[in-house]
Amino acid sequence: MGFLLGVLIGILLSRKPKLSGVVLPILSVFNTIPGIVFIGLLVLVWGAQSATVLVALGVYATFPVLKNTYAGLVSVDPQYIEAAKGCGMSAVQSLQQVELPLAMPTIIGGLRMSTVYTVSWAVLASMIGGGGLGDFIYAGISSNDNMLILMGAIPAALLAFVLGSLVDALQRRVVPKGIQRGGSAS
């Protein structure tokens, strides 16, 4: 969800340099607000339910993807854009066939970042009553029950691991062969 939204807004911003000049600074200010505070605020407004947490996490997942999509598209070497244009590609075709594939490593880097954030905040969300795996850990810490902590920690770690592998798999699929090189986190 957050990923798709991020990519879309990122593309939009990279097309409109004026708009991005205004929007990006605002976004990065928002980004520095700790996720937990944002979740807390939403809980105040909507009450403590898992939907609230999901929305908050979704919004936060958007930021890294958005920024990286923007950065990736803006940093595509102008020669390729000129070549695409000169070959008679329309703006959409150029984006789809040339610019997005070339920006893909950076976009995936953003996705990886947002995955990491999301998992860690999902665990922390329980602190303010959002529910989830964090409940186990929190309860374990307060009752000094190691088993309970592990019951929360191990699945959380697994979740992070599985999601990480998914991102890797995705990266192998969507990053064009011609530009693949080692790790491409940004």
Binding site: D77, Q79, Y80, E82, A83, A84, K85, G86, C87, G88, M89, S90, Q93, Q97, V98, P101, L102, P176, K177, G178, I179
Partner: protein
């Protein structure tokens, strides 16, 4: 084929292009050249509407390009850029077929095109078609860039300093290839460069620009022979001498300041003149300075005691040439006749100079080394 009519471009008060009008014929290789900032690349990019003129019209095959859809227009114009611009996310085959794919050619058709084109530049299909640009050298990448421009067989191909990023060796071989391709396919090429050597080698017609205007538009030979301005001459630099050699005439090769003697002079006077000048032959002229022949010391010794003047001793066996004769013919004559020198006459048959082997050699050396 391609015609510019009073095309101008200005940004604010700054004039980039100033009333350009020219026409390029079908099948020609036209080279745009000039100092940086002269507007040559801008001119090129107007042809596929990457830049729009602020005034004037451009016609391609008698059609006003401003009336056509930009994207559609570009699909029918080949375009090769300086930085190569081969898409790194696509294989060689995909890169070549970018335009055919955009034009919705069938897959078989695309395959056939890739086969044909790779063959034309001697890159075996099996080995290269599925490589990515990052696995190839710069020269090979630019070959692919050129093939990409040719793939949909557009009637006109634009090249924007396509070889300036390559090393000299690769550049040479690619220039050759482009020339061969152009002749084989009989397409119109418009080529931008700042390298005069490249222009002279490739062009059917050179368009020299400066400050957004055409200074001279001429075939290379004509530009070399008659550069329109000192600036073009500077650009032509070292090429001007070597290429102009065929223009040299006898006048360039002769030694002037030859001493002559009138036919009515006495024998003794001639002998003393010969002694003074340390020569064995004198050139004889009549009272209007017209060439009569030569008189040699040997003849004077033999029969000098029976004649008073040198007139009866004149011989006409020394070959003569005229000042306007080509230097090469003079050279051939000098070698084949076995004569020690040639006598150069002007239009009025007056003696203008001598071509000796020494004067020839020093003139050649001067042409060669300046």
């Amino acid at each position: 084929m391609l015609r510019f009519e009073h095309v101008s471009l200005s940004y604010g008060s700054q004039k980039i292009l100033d009333d350009l009008s020219f026409e390029i014929q079908e099948g020609q290789m036209a080279v745009l050249i000039g100092p940086s900032g002269c507007g040559k690349t801008t001119t090129l990019k107007m042809i596929n509407r990457l830049i729009e003129p602020s005034a004037g019209k451009i016609y391609l095959n008698e059609e006003d390009i401003a009336a056509k859809d930009k994207v559609e227009l570009r699909r029918h114009i080949g375009y090769v850029i300086q930085q190569i611009g081969v898409f790194p996310n696509m294989t060689v085959a995909q890169n070549i077929c970018v335009v055919p794919t955009l034009l919705k050619y069938s897959k078989e058709e695309c395959d056939r095109i890739v086969h044909n084109l790779l063959e034309m530049v001697n890159l075996p299909y099996e080995q290269y078609a599925h490589k990515y640009p990052s696995e190839m050298s710069g020269g090979q990448q630019q070959r692919i860039g050129i093939l990409r421009a040719l793939a949909a067989s557009p009637p006109i191909v634009l090249m924007d300093e396509p070889f300036s990023a390559l090393d000299p060796m690769t550049r040479r071989s690619l220039q050759q290839e482009v020339r061969t391709l152009q002749q084989k396919l009989n397409k119109t090429f418009v080529f931008v460069t700042h390298d005069m050597e490249e222009a002279l080698d490739l062009a059917d017609v050179i368009i020299f620009m400066d400050h957004g205007k055409i200074v001279q538009m001429a075939p290379p030979e004509e530009m070399l022979a008659h550069p329109a301005s000192g600036q073009i001459q500077d650009f032509l630099g070292k090429f001007i001498d070597t290429h102009a050699q065929k223009e040299l005439t006898a006048a360039d090769f002769m030694r002037s300041g030859v001493s002559t003697v009138s036919a009515n002079r006495g024998v003794n006077e001639c002998v003393s003149k010969m002694q003074r000048r340390n020569v064995d032959t004198l050139i004889v002229v009549d009272d209007q300075d017209r060439y009569q022949g030569t008189v040699s010391i040997a003849d004077i010794r033999l029969t000098g005691h029976v004649v008073k003047t040198i007139e009866p001793l004149i011989r006409c066996n020394t070959p003569t040439v005229h000042t306007g004769d080509s230097a090469k013919d003079c050279f051939d004559l000098l070698i084949s006749s076995g004569a020690p020198y040639l006598i150069v006459l002007d239009e009025e048959e007056k003696v203008d100079g001598l071509i000796t082997k020494t004067s020839m050699t020093s003139a050649m050396a001067e042409q060669l080394w300046g």
